[in-house]
């Protein structure tokens, strides 16, 4: 079932949480709502579910306006952040409950519950109470319960938030496989970029009650639409500079832009370089700037170099593959030169400047 959200606004006690959010999710897609805490992603999910009502705008499921319908009438499966399993019921009763409330025939309920428990691999634990299960098991019960009535939309609020790293990893892959099997339109909320990228077909980036960008993981990472998206997705070096035509300038350094920035006239801009797009040299090369190595941190497949570049606002981070790092044999205190391979520039909005400065970049 497709989902359309149009110009949705929501405020809690006069504090705006969603400021005109529009979004289209085609049938069968698995979408992540990604953003920092307080960006409105959970509120948006709850409005799609019918657990919260929008102050303005509409929500359509399969073209039909469901804005006025309650959660009960929308037939949407919801997996809650802390699972909200019915504590006084066994695993089996939790899953069967929605069907029993709908007065489905007994045999049909039993068959459906057995099928769901097999799907989430909990057949052996059907007599347990939620308190007797591990976090990952509870999560799977919540999922089975949400799927019991064969909803055509599945909504998950920070589904892996409360689990430890290893279980989270497993469940992510499992959710992806499950989605590929069932093809139910799914939306999940997360603040974890890695999680969104690993699981979702498309990612909706949200910030301060607005949608910043919608795209596949590759799209939003390679072609971020705003400074916010650039910063939010992975580590980044940010410099304050100028942009004019297809060139950017930072502290006297003249950088060529891959995609020309939109500024026809000289304008203040944020200049971003991802750590893995920053080359490290022993000797100066054209377009490089000087820096000193502070720390060398091996991260497995890559090595992170922390440097200070006094002309460039302080700390800079570079990421090298192990081979390059070995060839350079960097040690703290070494003087090196850095040259960006790829630069992204976003014109500054006046209102952004303070918050960017405040974040220390």
């Amino acid at each position: 079932m497709s989902i359309v959200v149009r110009e949705v606004e929501k405020a809690f006690d006069a504090t705006p949480v969603l400021r005109g959010v529009s979004l289209e999710i085609p049938d069968g897609e698995l979408v992540a709502l990604l953003g920092p805490s307080g960006c409105g992603k959970t509120t948006l999910l709850r409005i799609i579910a019918g657990l919260e009502s929008a102050d303005a705008g509409e929500v359509r499921h399969d073209g039909e306006d469901v804005s006025a319908r309650s959660a009960r009438e929308r037939n949407v499966g919801v997996v809650f952040q802390h699972y909200a399993l019915f504590r006084h019921m066994t695993v089996e009763e939790n899953v069967a409950f929605a069907l029993r409330v709908r007065r489905r025939p007994r045999a049909q309920v039993a068959a459906r519950v057995a099928e769901l428990l097999r799907l989430v691999q909990l057949e052996g634990l059907k007599g347990r109470y939620p308190q007797q299960l591990s976090g990952g098991q509870r999560q799977r019960v919540a999922l089975a319960r949400a799927l019991a009535t064969e909803p055509r939309i599945l909504l998950l609020d920070e589904p892996f938030g409360a689990l430890d790293a290893r279980v989270r990893q497993e469940l992510r892959r499992w959710l992806r496989r499950l989605h590929d099997e069932l093809h139910v339109t799914s939306v999940f909320v997360t603040h974890d970029q890695e999680e969104a990228f690993e699981v979702a077909d498309r990612v909706v980036l949200m910030n301060a009650g607005r949608v910043e960008q919608v795209g596949t993981p590759a799209q939003v990472f390679e072609e971020p639409a705003s400074a916010f998206v650039m910063r939010f997705l992975g580590a980044v070096n940010a410099f304050k500079g100028w942009v004019e035509g297809d060139r950017a300038f930072v502290s006297g350094l003249d950088l060529e832009l891959v995609a020309p920035a939109s500024a026809a006239h000289r304008a203040r801009a944020h200049v971003f370089v991802r750590p893995h797009e920053l080359d490290v040299h022993r000797a100066p090369v054209p377009g490089s700037f000087a820096a000193n190595v502070d720390r060398v941190l091996p991260l497995g497949a890559a090595v992170r170099i922390e440097l200070s570049a006094p002309g460039f606002g302080g700390m800079v981070e570079a990421e090298l593959d192990v081979r390059r790092s070995e060839a350079l044999a960097l040690a703290p205190g070494d003087a090196v030169h850095l040259s960006p391979r790829r630069v992204r520039v976003f014109p500054s909005r006046e209102d952004e400047l303070d918050s960017l400065t405040a974040s220390g970049l």
Binding site: G77, H82, A84, L85, F86, H88, R128, Y129, Q132
Partner: protein, 238 residues
């Protein structure tokens, strides 16, 4: 020197006190049974913010908690017949107020009193249930009322149970005030027996022991009940 206690006399009053015990238990059980639905309804009215009624409920709870039980008993026993007579005269009901047994006023006073206290217990217990439980109920297709009845209330009752156990015990002991309006329950009988031989200490000591034994019984019963309803809680993951 005379012994402190007249043991043979103490033993001799036990049968008389035990004969009065059913009245005590009757008042306790009937009042509690009527008070629980009243308490639950009051709590639900206040939690779901039913217009007008919630203010009535709040006023009721405030009054019952803010006035002494003994005063409430007197108001019910002396005041209510007067009110009924007055209303009867005014609207021409053929109502013989004097035919209403005293114990009815006792039921009324205790029911209203316990109902007010227990409603606060229910209210706190319902509010202690995570909001997510109701949302989960709605999301699987239950109505708000179904969610309340089948998801929230069963869990709330579990939380309320220990406190309700206390309420039962308090009620049992408070029924000893009933003799003040001529209902001869355990305490009333004790007073009669004591007056006869002027052996107040002995009789009241026996009465105290009877109350105590019954309360111990109630405590035990509640403990068993609590374990039963809590079977889904506090179990470690296996």
């Amino acid at each position: 020197m005379e012994p402190l206690l007249d043991y043979p006399f103490m033993v001799s009053v036990v049968p008389a006190l035990l004969r009065a015990l059913p009245v005590t238990l009757n008042v306790t059980v009937v009042s509690m049974s009527l008070a629980l639905p009243l308490a639950l309804a009051t709590a639900l009215v206040r939690i779901s913010r039913v217009p007008v009624l919630r203010h009535v409920a709040a006023l009721y709870v405030s009054f019952m908690r803010g006035t002494p039980l003994l005063v409430q008993i007197y108001l019910a026993y002396y005041g209510l017949p007067k009110v009924l007579n007055h209303l009867g005269d005014r609207y021409g009901w053929s109502l013989d107020v004097s035919s209403i047994p005293a114990i009815a006023f006792i039921y009324l006073a205790f029911t209203l009193n316990v109902g007010a206290y227990a409603s606060e217990t229910f209210r706190a217990a319902i509010e202690a249930i995570d909001r997510g439980q109701m949302e989960a109920a709605l999301s699987v297709g239950m109505t708000r009322w179904q969610g309340m009845r089948r998801i929230v209330l069963p869990q709330a009752l579990t939380i309320a149970l220990p406190s309700l156990g206390n309420t039962v015990i308090a009620l049992l002991k408070d029924t000893s005030l009933a003799f003040l309006v001529s209902v001869v329950e355990l305490m009333g009988e004790a007073k009669i027996q004591a007056a006869r031989g002027l052996q107040f200490f002995e009789v009241y000591l026996v009465a105290a022991l009877v109350y105590w034994v019954i309360c111990i019984g109630i405590e035990r019963g509640m403990a068993v009940l609590e374990r039963r309803v809590r079977r889904y809680e506090g179990l470690s993951p296996a």
